[in-house]
Symmetry: C2
DNA sequence: GTCTATATGGCGATAGAC
DNA sequence: GTCTATCGCCATATAGAC
């Protein structure tokens, strides 16, 4: 039942599907491409998934499933709110740097903006994480709009990675700008002092 | 030569292509879809463009072509650097709010990350604008890394729009969070004071 | 510059043997 | 659970008439 990589067929399919969908998007990947990549026939894939859309949905859920664990330790900890925020920023940036495919999948989901998938993602994945961040922001700056502040924190972390493909062609770019630690430090500095 | 909308056939095709590519992406749009939308045959489109890829490239350039004009007045003005930054943030957010298709096309380009198109975009479109922003940042905070600071300014503006499809499902969202002026004020406040 | 008709191949999905 | 073979359709692109 398990291959030499310790994965059963379904997991093998999902792993490669994650790679392909992240790279090319839903309509950029054919069942034949995927079958090729996992060394199976198309018909075998259809044995595990009823259709391409279901496969895509399961792939997205598969890509998200281990992410919540990383952050819960931070939110459950006993640090003061400011420190929780710093730990979260660091952890998020590390996670985005480590799992590029995860990052690309989110970006594609947001631009495709399928309303059904969007609500599913919001409820099943983002709601809890966002609530924790929201509470920390409320504690830190009760006079501010916590929702906008939380989005801004996420912006500062995530957009560095979205700009990665083009940044290296822009003036004053340095290789060190790609290091997660450098990015995280910069984000925290802005959050602490502003930029002006 | 010109239709009742004042556009010739090529412009009509590019206008609808911009809408479709922004919504569905390159591989999500077929030549038949597009032909349908402009009330032409597929063959007629191929009279104006040699293939789908060229059509896509021209569409992206078409979508970008009027954008530089909006900002040059700000950079050329005689305001102090801090005020130029504030004007830029406002103008960028207004532009993103006004032209959603433009916003989606950028997001898709960044996630597709075709190296050839990326370098083309960087050189032809972003280089000049980014340089102006960079110079303003250097003047405002000479001790900071200007490249990272400039990216952070763009992050704060652009990511609010990227999160738009999911934000309304997240806790504490209010309709006013979609107003460009509210977003711009929030961005400037963070840049001035930080968040903590 | 626009059309109809068509060539050629890839697509998602299924039938049925092993 | 995996395969080969195949269906019916839609994709990009072209030929050639008007």
């Amino acid at each position: 039942m398990l291959g030499s990589d310790g994965l059963n067929s379904k997991e093998k399919i999902l792993t490669q599907a994650k790679t392909l969908f992240a790279e090319k998007g839903f309509s950029g990947v054919s069942m034949r491409n995927l079958a090729n990549k996992v060394n199976m026939s198309v018909a075998s894939i259809y044995h595990h998934f009823p259709d391409k859309n279901s496969l895509y949905l399961e792939t997205v859920q598969f890509a998200f499933q281990d992410k919540a664990v990383v952050f819960s330790a931070i939110w459950q900890g006993k640090s003061p709110a400011e420190q929780k925020l710093a730990l979260f920023v660091n952890a998020l940036i590390q996670e985005l740097a480590k799992d590029r495919e995860f990052h690309c999948l989110i970006q594609r989901e947001l631009v495709d903006a399928n309303p059904v998938r969007m609500e599913m993602l919001a409820k099943d994945v983002f709601h809890e994480e966002f609530s924790f961040l929201l509470n920390v922001m409320k504690e830190i700056t009760p006079e501010r709009d916590a929702h906008l502040a939380a989005i801004s924190v996420l912006s500062l972390c995530k957009y560095h990675f979205e700009m990665q493909p083009i940044r290296c062609f822009l003036p004053d770019w340095k290789p060190e700008h790609e290091e997660p630690q450098v990015i995280a430090n910069q984000v925290m500095k802005i959050l602490l002092e502003g930029i002006l």
